[in-house]
């Protein structure tokens, strides 16, 4: 619509240019019903800004042809800056009456000559007006013909429900982490193997949860993918398998839940294995070799590693110890079971948190064996920490700078334990080591759907309707290395500083 308006604006008088431009501005934001009409792409919430921008710019150039390119550039720059400022700052309507006043400011400056910096200045004013308008909500921003404001308002109000604007519910400083999760197999590509399809769903709803469990399940599924694979004629397994078969599987898994670091390590290893297969090897043999290699890998890096870690860590548990652990880690559980089966009698305090309540499963498993278990949530942590003798933590990954990347809340437990002078021991297989580094928990993390935090029927039902409310459900946090006293791995007990060394030895030499 505005594109039809603007040429006439150019011919008739300059001031009117400001008004249509002012109206295009809300379109750029994509929250206006008009925006949706203008281009269907604008309905896409987060990208709408960039989509709206070219349209606005194009129109601008068409309307102000007399400007020199330099001026145009400058103007575009100004606009961009203004728009950026607008999107960054979280704002609220405080000037509902001010908005209509600001918009007529454009027509009031009629005598202004066309073009020049003053024109751009004026345009800037118009923009501001539209911005405040927009903040007040849809209806006012819609009124393109000011004299009929009242009636327009009504019309817009009736029109508004038709195209409901969608607020961006993502938390600003985690915005780079949001991924749409696949929750059904409906839109999976046809290359995805059924075993992987099922696995993806299981990962998505946390049936298979935990770094190691996901790794094992993934490799098992890839084994069946490889077994079902036949090299198409004219291709070699080495060249074709990774790019054409494995990649869709991995993409699908990643769309269900982001790939864990251990999975990433395993995938890298598997790709290397595949690339190492000799082109001349018969397909059946190559497949058999690969499956065998996967089995060996799993045994070496997971099964025996777990056993070894459990054996070592269980040796550190003494009679009468009070062991604290957070959430659920398979290797911690194995360690506790092993120590218990060796006749050690100790108490376990399981600390847990919303929304996954993984610790409850661990506690249930331990209780059923007759162990002495105390269970509390993070609110009870500081009250029980005084009696603790050791803290055993599981890991999602160990960062190269010695920091622990684990289930969100782990850092709090480590911090409190450190404060109370309790040794913090991390149990971690070297497959979870990564060359990545992390300083905070924001750059690299996983954001789970916010709806997982909503208790059915609770007060948060329909929280999306609440303006300016965002719910952040992150999965991991980063524990500073100074809170960790020892890392028990299958290659030995090391301090956090030794992580990069072990990583080089374990994951990159292969």
């Amino acid at each position: 619509m505005p594109s039809t308006d603007s040429p006439s604006a150019v011919e008739t008088s300059q001031p009117e240019v400001a008004a249509p431009l002012a109206q295009t501005q809300p379109n750029g934001k994509g929250k206006q019903p008009e925006g949706a009409q203008q281009s269907s792409a604008n309905t896409e919430k987060s990208k709408s800004n960039s989509n709206g921008k070219p349209a606005g710019n194009a129109q601008e150039t068409s309307s102000t042809k007399k400007l020199t390119p330099a001026e145009l550039k400058k103007k575009a720059k100004e606009e961009k800056a203004a728009r950026r400022a607008q999107t960054v700052a979280a704002k609220e309507a405080e000037s509902a009456p001010a908005a209509p006043e600001l918009s007529p400011a454009g027509p009031s400056t009629v005598p202004q000559p066309a073009g020049g910096t003053s024109g751009s200045q004026q345009r800037g004013d118009g923009q501001k007006g539209s911005r405040t308008q927009q903040r007040t909500g849809g209806p006012v921003g819609n009124s393109r013909n000011l004299p009929f404001r009242g009636s327009q308002k009504v019309a817009a109000a009736t029109a508004a429900p038709v195209v409901p604007k969608k607020e961006d519910k993502t938390v600003e400083f985690f915005r780079h982490l949001y991924r749409q999760r696949t929750t059904s197999i409906a839109d999976a590509s046809k290359e995805v193997h059924p075993a992987v399809l099922a696995l993806g769903l299981q990962m998505g709803n946390y049936t298979i949860c935990g770094s190691c469990a996901r790794l094992v399940a993934m490799l098992q599924a890839f084994k069946s993918v490889i077994e079902a694979y036949t090299t198409p004629p004219g291709n070699s397994l080495t060249r074709h398998l990774t790019s054409h078969v494995l990649s869709p599987q991995i993409d699908y898994l990643a769309s269900c839940r982001p790939i864990s670091i251990s999975m990433g390590n395993a995938i890298r290893w598997l790709k290397l294995e595949i690339s190492k297969v000799d082109v001349d090897t018969p397909e059946a043999e190559a497949k058999k070799d690969l499956c065998g290699a996967i089995d060996v890998f799993l045994q070496e890096r997971v099964t025996y590693a777990d056993k070894l870690i459990a054996k070592k860590a269980a040796g550190k548990i003494k009679d009468g110890d009070v062991i604290m652990t957070y959430a659920k880690s398979s290797v911690v559980q194995r360690t506790l079971l092993r120590a218990f089966s060796k006749g050690k009698r100790f108490k376990v305090i399981v600390v847990d948190s919303r929304p996954l309540h993984e610790g409850k499963h661990l506690a249930a498993a331990l209780v059923n064996l007759g162990m002495d278990v105390q269970y509390c949530l993070l609110n009870g942590l500081v009250h029980v920490i005084q009696n603790v003798t050791k803290v055993l933590l599981g890991a999602h990954a160990m960062m190269s700078n010695g920091r622990l990347f684990a289930r969100v809340g782990t850092a709090i437990v480590a911090m409190e334990a450190n404060e109370a002078d309790k040794p913090v021991i991390v149990l971690c297989e070297t497959i979870k080591f990564t060359e990545r580094v992390a300083l905070d928990s924001i750059v690299h993390n996983e954001i789970a759907p916010a709806d997982e935090l909503v208790t059915p029927g609770g007060p948060l039902t329909n929280w999306e309707d609440m303006k300016k409310l965002q719910i952040c459900n992150m999965m991991y946090d980063v524990t500073p290395a100074e809170y960790l006293h020892m890392i028990v791995t299958e290659s030995g007990n090391v301090p956090p500083t030794a992580v990069p060394v072990l990583h080089r030895m374990g994951n990159e030499s292969g």
């Binding site: 409850k360 509390c376 850092a411 993390n445 935090l453 948060l460 300016k468 409310l469 965002q470 991991y476």
Partner: protein, 474 residues
């Protein structure tokens, strides 16, 4: 914890209403049971209820002198504190009232001593006058004098007056002792003027007109005092009502624009503070939900359904303006995310349940984690607290301040046999040591934690600090 049934569950408003009709003793018992059943809980309602009750006690109770009143209030206070020792605000209010009564007494005595110089308020004077006649004095006179100066807070004063008076008058007649010096004599002496020796041979004959003036004055002063004390308590009640707004008035001094503020649970004080700041500034608030004890309220609050505590009508629920409506972006996070998100937080603002004289505080569980995480990230921690939450108590064992809640909200029966096999803890409060707090904002201004003891000293009299455990009194 069961959700409060609307309308029927007794709460502060119901209690306030019942005060009008019920007798003093019934009201005391009522409040004690409400406290015990946690139907009135959290600092402010407890403080309000205590102040309201004490006002009734002062206004309706029969008391003739401040000593008796103080004893009575101490007794009521002791019972209330015993009913719910962890609601420190109850004790604080009792101490405030006691301190105020003492102040009134002092003032009163000073006034009387200056303007009349009569026997009522100044014991020295009284003792000096009968000094020449002590030889003639019967042994009971010491008792008589002790009982005379009621303004002296002799708390174990015998209340049985009539027998004393009769015995006294008889002595007086027998020994020709002038009877005017004692207030007890006033009543009996005026009742039977013929028994009093005519003033001619008495050394104090000229003081005979005094009894009438004195009795008059006493009645007046009691009335005045009663009104004064009730006024004082009403002032405390006013303070309790305004405290949140007073604290909020400091908001703009502490919040700059585009700030990221972390808080937890649902405190009206913090909300009003943030709302006030939102008038002028745009910022983001991250709210930790404080699961499992306060998450429902927190969720309601972020959904804009925070109940306004000042709304009088209980059937019509009025809500505070939501933070979002004030222009604040609200991010709800789990308690576990606190450490992760702390690197982006500029300031932590905590509400509190009680503040201890050492500068530490007792706050909703999870506060300690937040304060500690803030310390680890060098993020300043601000605590908002009304002065009424400031307690002079300083326990050696901070665990004694911690109340434990229903473990069923952590592991319920839907978890099957887990319930009976496992130890489950659900503390409602955390103790936050003073070194984790950077600033206190009270209705009097902003203070460093190390300065709090001065405010405590300003608000409570040393003799009232341990009113509830007499063995620690001296």
């Amino acid at each position: 914890m069961t959700p409060t049934q609307k309308g029927y569950a007794p709460n502060l408003t119901v209690f306030k209403k019942s005060l009008k009709a019920a007798s003093v003793e019934t009201s005391i018992e009522n409040l004690i049971s409400l406290l015990k059943r946690r139907q009135i809980k959290n600092s402010r309602p407890c403080a309000m209820a205590t102040a309201e009750l004490l006002r009734i006690v002062v206004a309706r109770d029969r008391w003739t002198d401040l000593g008796k009143l103080i004893a009575h209030i101490q007794d009521v206070g002791r019972r209330l504190v015993e009913a719910q020792p962890r609601e420190l605000a109850v004790g604080n209010i009792v101490r405030r009232v006691l301190g105020m009564i003492r102040d009134e007494g002092n003032e009163d005595r000073k006034n009387e001593g200056s303007d009349s110089g009569s026997a009522t308020g100044s014991p020295q004077l009284e003792f000096s006058i009968p000094a020449p006649t002590t030889t003639k004095r019967p042994p009971s006179s010491s008792l008589r004098f002790a009982s005379t100066d009621g303004v002296h807070f002799t708390e174990d004063r015998p209340t049985t007056r009539p027998p004393l008076m009769t015995s006294h008058t008889s002595y007086a007649v027998a020994n020709n002792v002038p009877v005017q010096q004692s207030m007890f004599n006033l009543l009996s002496a005026t009742g039977s003027p013929n028994l009093t020796p005519s003033g001619a041979n008495s050394p104090h004959g000229d003081s005979t007109p005094h009894p009438f003036a004195l009795s008059e004055k006493m009645i007046n002063s009691t009335k005045d005092l009663r009104a004064e004390v009730v006024n004082g308590i009403e002032e405390i009640l006013d303070e309790l009502e305004q405290v949140d707004d007073q604290i909020a008035a400091y908001a703009l001094e502490h919040i700059h624009s585009n700030e990221v503020i972390l808080t937890h649970s649902s405190s009206v004080t913090v909300y009003k503070f943030l709302l006030k700041a939102a008038d002028k500034r745009k910022f983001t608030v991250i709210i930790a939900e404080s699961y499992p004890n306060d998450h429902e309220e927190t969720h309601l609050a972020v959904m804009g359904k925070m109940k306004d505590p000042e709304s009088e009508e209980e059937d019509k629920e009025t809500y505070l303006k939501s933070l979002q409506a004030a222009g604040i972006t609200v991010i709800l996070v789990t308690d576990a995310s606190i450490f992760a998100i702390m690197s982006r937080v500029n300031k932590v603002i905590l509400a509190t349940h009680a503040v201890i004289a050492n500068g530490g505080l007792v706050a909703a569980a999870g506060a300690r984690i937040i304060a500690r995480a803030a310390k680890a990230h060098r993020t300043p921690v601000i605590v908002l607290s009304g002065v009424y939450k400031l307690s002079p108590e300083h326990p050696f064992e901070f665990e004694s301040l911690i109340e434990y809640g229903d473990p069923g909200s952590i592991v319920g029966y839907e978890d099957g046999t887990l319930v009976e096999k496992m130890e489950v803890d659900n503390p409602l409060y955390d103790y936050v040591p003073p070194d984790l707090v950077d600033l206190y904002i009270t209705n009097l201004g902003s203070h460093a934690p190390s300065y709090l003891y001065r405010i405590v000293a300003d608000h409570y009299k040393p003799e009232d600090v341990n009113f509830n455990n007499p063995e620690l009194l001296f």
